[in-house]
C-alpha cells in the first residue's frame, strides 16, 4: 500500500464523516428553519379581515366569565379561518398549537410560529400559554403574555384562525 493511496483513503474517510453529519443536518433542516410555507390561495386568505368583525360580537354572549374546565369544556371549535366550523374533542391531554407537524393542532399560515402556543391544564382549568410566538396569541383580542385561564365561549386568535372552547 503506497503512501499516496493511504493518504487518499484517510482523507476520504474524513470527508465521508462530514458527509454523514451534513446528511443528518439536511434531514433535520425543517426543525431548524420551520416548515416551508406555501402562499395561500386568495379564497383562503380572504376571511382574515372580514372574519374579524362578525366573530367578535359572536363571542360575547352566554357564560363569558366561566373558566373552561375538564368537566365543562368538551370541544374546541374553529370559529374563523380556513377550517371554520370544524371541531376537535378535548381530552385531558395538553394540546400544542403551531406550524410544526408534531403539534396537536397544526396551523400552517404566514402568521403562525413553529411552536406557537399550548393549551394546557392548570389543575382542572384550561389555560392558554404563548410559546414566545412572533405574531402572538390573543385571548379576546388581548395579547397573551403569561399562561391565562380560558373562559368558555371566548375567542382565542392565532394568526387568521380563531377558536373557542365550548361545552
Amino acid at each position: 500500500m503506497s503512501e499516496l493511496t493511504l493518504f487518499v483513503l484517510r482523507f476520504g474517510f474524513l470527508l465521508l464523516l462530514w458527509v454523514f453529519i451534513f446528511a443528518i443536518v439536511y434531514a433535520l433542516r425543517s426543525d431548524l428553519f420551520g416548515q416551508r410555507v406555501k402562499r395561500m390561495p386568495d379564497s383562503v386568505a380572504a376571511p382574515f379581515p372580514a372574519g374579524q368583525a362578525p366573530t367578535a360580537p359572536a363571542a360575547k354572549p352566554s357564560g363569558k366569565s366561566t373558566i373552561a374546565t375538564v368537566s365543562n369544556a368538551k370541544r374546541l371549535v374553529i370559529t374563523s379561518g380556513a377550517k371554520e366550523g370544524l371541531e376537535i374533542e378535548l381530552t385531558a391531554e395538553p394540546l400544542t398549537i403551531g406550524r410544526s407537524a408534531e403539534s396537536g393542532l397544526v396551523i400552517r399560515d404566514d402568521y403562525t410560529s413553529t411552536h406557537h402556543a399550548r393549551l394546557l391544564l392548570w389543575g382542572e382549568e384550561w389555560a392558554i400559554q404563548d410559546l414566545d410566538s412572533t405574531n402572538g396569541t390573543f385571548l379576546d383580542e388581548a395579547r397573551v403574555t403569561v399562561p391565562t385561564p380560558v373562559p368558555l365561549n371566548t375567542r382565542v386568535r392565532i394568526g387568521t384562525t380563531s377558536f373557542e372552547l365550548r361545552r
Binding site: L6, R10, F11, L17, A23, L28, R36
Partner: protein, 473 residues
Amino acid sequence: MADVTTDVAATPSATADAPTGHTSALRLHLHIPSKLRNLELLLLIFACVLNGIAVVLVQLGALGEIRPEIIWLGGVLAVLAIGLHIALRFVAPEADPFILPAATLLNGIGIAEIYRLDIAAHATGWNADGIRQIAWTAIAMVIAFAVVVAIRNHRVLQRYRYIAMFTGILLLLLPMLPVIGYEQFGARLWVRLGIFSFQPGELAKIALAIFFAGYLVEARDSLSMVGKKILGVRFPRARDLGPILVIWAAAMAVLIVQRDLGTSLLYFGLFLVMIYVATARLSWVVLGLLLFVGGALIASQLFSYVAARFHGWLDAFNPDVYNAAGGSYQLVQGLFGLAHGGLIGTGLGEGRPQIVPLAQSDYIVASLGEELGLAGLFAIFALYLILVSRGMRIGFAGQDDFGRLLGVGLSFVIALQVFIVVGGVTRVIPLTGLTTPFLAAGGSSLVANWIIVALLLRLSDTIRNQPRLVIGP
C-alpha cells in the same frame, strides 16, 4: 424531513374532516410507511459502513494488511444495531431517527481507536481492550433494546422517583464499601465482584436524572414563586434550600471520599441545570456555582490531589511539574499528540497515541485528535451536538413536564461529560478522570450511555404525536 412531516401531517387532516373519528385514524396510521424509520435505517447503514472503514483503515495504517476477524466481530454489532432499529419500528415508530445512527457511529469510532491502541500494545484475546469493548457494546445494545421494549410509557418512571433517588445514592456509595469497592488511579470509583469490575457511578447519573425530574415537577412552584429579591434576582427562601444543600453535600462527599472531581462536578451540574430549567431562576445557578467553587477551593487547600490537579493545569509546561509523579506528563503528552495530528491528522493507525498514559480511556479524545486531526475531532463533536440537541428538543416540543425535564437532564449530562473530558484534555479546565461517552474503553460507561439513548428514543416517540387537526396547506 420536510417531506416526511408534511406527509404524516396530511393524512390525519383528511380524517379530521370525516366524522368517523378515532378508529379510521388508527387504521390509516398503520398504513403510513414509517418514513422516520426508513431514514434511520439509511443513516444507520451509513454509520455501520463508516465504522467498518475506520477499522480497515486502522489495519492498513498500523499493520499494512487487512485481517478480517475483527471486521466480523464489528459486523455482529452492526446486526445488533439494526436489531434495535427493527425493535423501534414496532415499539416506538415515531422515535427520533438521528439518535441511534449518531450513537452507533460514535461507538464504532471509539472501538476502531481502541483496537488501534491494542495493536500498538500487542494485546490479543480478552486482554485486548478492543475485544472487551466490542463485548460490552453488545451487552449495552441488548440492554438498550430491553429498555425500549420494556418501558412503553416513560411516565411510569415518575412513580419510582424516590426509589430512583435511593438507587442513585446507593450506587454512588457502593465503591466506598470495604470488600467490593477498590481504588484505581487514585480515585475510589470501582466495584469488583470476582473478575468483574464496574463503575456504578455511571449508572447513578440516570437514576439521579429520573429523581430530579420527578422531584422538580412537584416542587418547582415552591422553588420558583417565593423569596426575596436582591439586586433584581429573586433568591429562594432559606427553607427551600434543603435539596440543593443535600445534593451539594453528596457532591462534596464524592469529591472528598472518592477523590473524583469530575464525577462530583457532573452530578452537581446536572442538578443545577435541571433546577434552572424547572424554575427559570438564575439565582439557583448563581448559588450553586458559588457553593461548588467555594467547596472545590477549600478542598484544593485541604487535599493534595485536588491541588496537584490545579497546579498541573495552570503550570503544565514547567519541567518540574511535568516530571513530578501525578504531574502534567499525561496532559502535556496529550497536547503534543493533538499538535502532531494537526488539521487532518496522521491517519488512523499511523500516529503514536500509545505514548499517552490511558490513551484508550481517559485520553481517547487526544488519541482520536492525533489520528483524525482537527477535522475529525470536530466531526465527532458535531455528532455529540446532534445527539444532545435531539435530546434538548424533547424538552422544547414535549407535552408533559416530567418527560421534558428528563429529556433535558439526560442529554445535558452527556453534553456536560463531553465538556469536562474534552476541556480537561485540551487544558481549558483542570483535568478530571471521566469517560468520554460512547468513545472511551469501559463497560459501565457504555451501558449507561446506551440506556440514555434508549430513554431518549422512548421520550422522542411520545412527543411526536399525530396532529389532531391540520389547518392550511
